[in-house]
Subunit: 614 residues, 2 copies
């Protein structure tokens, strides 16, 4: 039974009452606030206590009052891994006494008896018995900055050969690195690079019954030559992969690989560990199903097996294997079809040994499932952005995922396309649609990615009408890409990624704010930094017609004077416009460029009375 | 390490993650909902488990899906005291198998191998290993219906004598009971009835230095003749009090007494337990202060004393004493100046032995402190309603306190006045202001109270300009009231309380909804029951002028057809109006009656084609 008088309530940040860690990246300040109050009129004092997990000593920061019984303080997280923090509070008798005696003196009252009380309080100090501490402590998971700010480029390495019809190799892929680097990406993500099963292999366009020459889906993992810890011979050896990884690193690019926990019928696991798969009544292995659809080329793991401990360990050893091979970024395929406790265990174990490892969750599923996976530890998550096209859809969804509580555990990664998703907007919108979606993804999201070269080369034919599958998808066949095509978006992508690197405002999502425009076809939003960098983006969402409108800015929110003029500098075109006040005109022609990415520049007067824009 | 696949999140209702009990009254249905989901595409099943605290067996109710991974069920609480509930969930393999096999059959697939799996699943049942249960269980505190629906009348028993200048007695107070009953109140609350201290006693209008004849403040508790467990001789003996209580019960009225944990300097505790009071440096006892104000007639208890256990026990014994004397409703004076853990302990102990006891918190203080006291166990709480006068103020505040999460633990009691608060609106608004505030309190709040006869006799003179204290306040002197004055609001109060008793819609707050009126001086709101009773209230907030306007009703929300006509029956005047559609005209003259309390009546056609309004 505690009798401590001070209450601590509603500590922010926390995820599900402390059940999960709050996510931050190295170098962040963690701003902690809480309701702290006691009975009566006595003053309270409180502090944030924090430490790296495993440390025994707490560090303390005094909290200061923000009104309405709310107190706040912040601390820096400078190391990767887990931090703990909590709040401690107590009645500050000495401060109360000082406040009261000053009031009495001001009223001319005799304070002689009260003076003695002060000395007594000073001697007594704080009775630990009467200190309230929030228990258990809350947790912060600190990751690399790359977890917050990253530009992903996905390609199929087997399609990188410059000879038509020839299977690309890791070496071909390495030759493609300067191209990827020239566009400014920092992560190159490769679909599975493992041996591909032959049994029930699918042909081009997912046709049942592959021909001899068909290469199969990289996600049908495993053959006699090996499983998740092997590379497919056609791409090259583990040494070849290591060389690719090193050459990428020299260009500032990290290689991300795909973790897809499933097997082709030819995977060695099927023979060596039949207990990891569900048997049907006829003794065959249960293949993947989504009735009435059948995926006979894929055997899912049976996580309810009694041999689950061995299975979990083996699956973790796959990640460990690739960590050993130098990989630190993993894109995880369909994590929502494996048990949640498995992911919490796997990511927790991996990150406690290797806190620099980043996991991207490819869970395109129901919202609560996606959020749960993020809470369990995934560093980044694919999102519904891929299908959010109207201004209202984008504003609503991006607001949800960039504000607490969601943003405390969920980091959106915005993808206009993936090998699995060619959205309708790109099928019918032409080049303007690709440009608009690129700018939206790269400026709404501090993390984004594209599947190329399909994206920059405007690939837009679906397998059949109404389908989101690509025609002649690289998932099932080799493709050859003409990277030098004049309509390629390569230069625009390079420009956008350079803008992202040069402007810190675009490197996090927490400052994202939408602005009203009197034309629904134009979306406008800004991101800013605490030291005053403001990036304002306007995009014409209509890929067919020129659209114009008046944008309304909250100038006070930007720290700009209401009636002053300021410069907007379009970082895409280098054009500069002088704007006056909150309401300004914009016009965007999709045939040239459907977006502005403005930097707002304040007018500054030098000591020589010369005006310039900062 | 659990590997159960199903996740249970976001269970509603719960207060602060289960730290505190959810409040309900006997007979309520507790509607429980939760997000429940698993990995993959398997179907999940879930149930609410509930039991009275102390029972070993759980009762179960299956939850049903409400979309977006949300599931719901409800259970009834038929006994006073604490219930526990939780949610249990598991993958329903059998239901999943049934769903899948039906899809396969519909697609004409061969399902012979699948049939065997069904029988196997039926045999296996649910593996308890893979069942998720939310732990620890959540708590519901079930109180009497009076905790939710109550009409309080406060009076000073010493002012009930019919002889001018004579101290009233419990017998005089008993003679006043038919008057109170005629107005329809069900709780008669008496300020402290204990001996009053003589040392530093205050005179009329809180004057320092009382004259011999001055009766002092009832809140300066304790004299040589006794303390919190004694009655003041002038009122009568404990037997006289018991007689008053019994006579009240016969009229359907419960007597509530005041628990004010503080002492006059003459209280026996001061002599017998000096360790319960803080000593000043000069050896005197620390009186109450709010510097530079001094309250030398009041000694607060020193809760930080090392003898706190004995102090807590003694304070609880005060409540136990009055429970023994038959009291079940306590109004607690200034609970926010005593430690929170003390209240949680006291109320918990008292209610575990006497779950029919009701505590009203008189904490007029900061919002978070008021809410915390409610969470700790107070059945009802005074509110800021007393100072909320404009439509916007009322709508905002009442919305906050009548919706979850607040309404799960905080039950507002709306008081237009108290002996401590004569609000400005009543000082200057005349009789119309009193009428308006009465109707607002009694129809916005399922629980409300007035301090009478000051209220019904329109007492409105402040002690001095700008003060909220009554002139010649009963707190410091005897008063004589002319109950038969023709301008008394007695009849209106009786009518309003009868309407409250006859219409269940007004007996809870959860259905309160505000409706728009195109004149800010008129506020309109409704309460309704699930079986279709709709009460619509409109009040003119301007005590000086007739106001009119068009009210917009959400007819669909009421289950009324959009273009049909319906009857509004004013329960205050018995007038009936035929309204058409959503938009209707109202006009309210404060000089006659500033409010409508309508019952909405649907048109019903009998089999003989005769229309009437139900």
């Amino acid at each position: 039974m505690t009798r401590a008088r001070v209450v601590i309530e509603n500590i922010v940040p926390q995820v599900d009452g402390g059940r999960f860690a709050v996510k931050r990246v190295r170098g962040d300040m963690v701003s902690v606030s809480a309701d702290v109050f006691a009975d009566g009129h006595d003053l309270v004092a409180c502090a944030v206590l924090f430490r790296r997990r495993g440390d025994t000593e707490w560090q303390r920061v005094a909290m200061s009052g923000a009104g309405n019984d709310r107190f706040a303080a912040q601390f820096a997280v400078s190391e990767l891994g887990r931090y703990e923090f909590t709040v401690e509070a107590w009645v500050d008798h000495l401060a109360t006494w000082k406040r009261d005696i000053e009031k009495k003196r001001a009223a001319g009252q005799d304070t002689r008896v009260d003076e003695a009380r002060g000395a007594q309080l000073e001697r007594a100090g704080i009775d630990p018995d009467l200190v309230t501490r929030h228990e258990p402590p809350l947790t912060v998971e600190v990751e690399r900055e790359l977890a917050r700010f990253s530009s992903w480029y996905e390609l199929f390495p087997r399609s990188t050969s410059d000879k038509p019809g020839k299977h690309g190799t890791f070496a071909d892929c390495a030759a493609r690195l300067p191209y990827v680097a020239s566009m400014g990406f920092d992560i190159l993500y490769l679909p599975p690079i493992h041996p591909i099963g032959f049994t029930e292999r699918k042909g081009p366009n997912n046709k049942v019954g592959a021909a001899k020459v068909d290469v199969g889906s990289p996600w049908a993992i495993g053959a006699a030559s090996g499983g998740h810890k092997a590379t497919i011979t056609e791409l090259g050896s583990l040494e070849d992969f290591a060389r690719l990884r090193r050459e990428a690193a020299e260009l500032g690019i990290e290689i991300a690989i795909d973790i897809a926990y499933q097997c082709s019928p030819d995977h060695p696991y099927v023979r060596e560990h039949p207990e990891w798969f569900l048997k049907r009544a006829d003794g065959t292995v249960q293949y993947a199903e989504n009735p009435p659809k059948k995926y006979q080329d894929i055997y899912p793991f049976y996580f309810e097996t009694t041999a689950w401990r061995a299975l979990w360990q083996e699956l973790k050893s796959v990640v460990d294997f690739w960590i050993e091979a130098g990989v630190r970024v993993f894109r995880v395929d369909n994590p929502h079809t494996k048990p949640f406790p498995f992911w919490e265990w796997l990511i927790g174990e991996v990150r406690s040994a290797h806190p620099d490892v980043i996991f991207l969750s490819e869970a395109f599923t129901r919202p609560k499932v996606m959020y749960r996976l993020a809470k369990l530890g995934f560093s980044q998550s694919y999102t519904y952005f891929t299908w959010r096209n109207t201004r209202e859809e984008i504003e609503q969804y991006l607001t949800e995922v960039t504000r607490p509580p969601v943003s405390d555990y969920f980091r959106p990664s915005l993808w206009p396309n993936t090998p699995d998703i060619l959205p309708e907007y790109l099928q019918f919108g032409g080049r303007p649609a690709f440009m608009a979606r690129l700018v939206l993804a790269a400026t709404l999201g501090a993390s984004y990615g594209i599947y190329g070269p399909a994206f920059e080369l405007l690939e837009h034919e679906p397998r059949e009408p109404g389908s989101e599958e690509y025609l002649d998808s690289e998932k099932y066949q080799l493709r050859q890409w003409d990277l030098e095509r004049p309509d390629s978006l390569r230069d625009l992508i390079a420009r956008v990624n350079r803008i992202r690197r040069e402007h810190r405002a675009l490197q996090s999502d927490s400052s994202l704010r939408f602005h009203s425009v009197d034309n629904d076809s134009i979306i406008a939003y800004s991101k800013s930094t605490e030291d005053g960098e403001i990036i304002l983006v306007a995009v014409n969402l209509d890929p067919r017609y020129r659209q114009s409108g008046w944008i309304d800015l909250d100038l006070a929110g930007f720290g700009l004077a209401a009636e002053k003029s300021f410069q907007v500098h379009d970082l895409l075109t280098d054009a500069r416009f002088l704007w006056h006040g909150a309401r300004n005109y914009i016009e965007l022609d999709p045939r040239t460029l459907p977006a502005h990415v403005f930097r707002l520049r304040r007018k500054v007067r030098t000591e020589h009375d010369f005006d310039y824009y900062l």
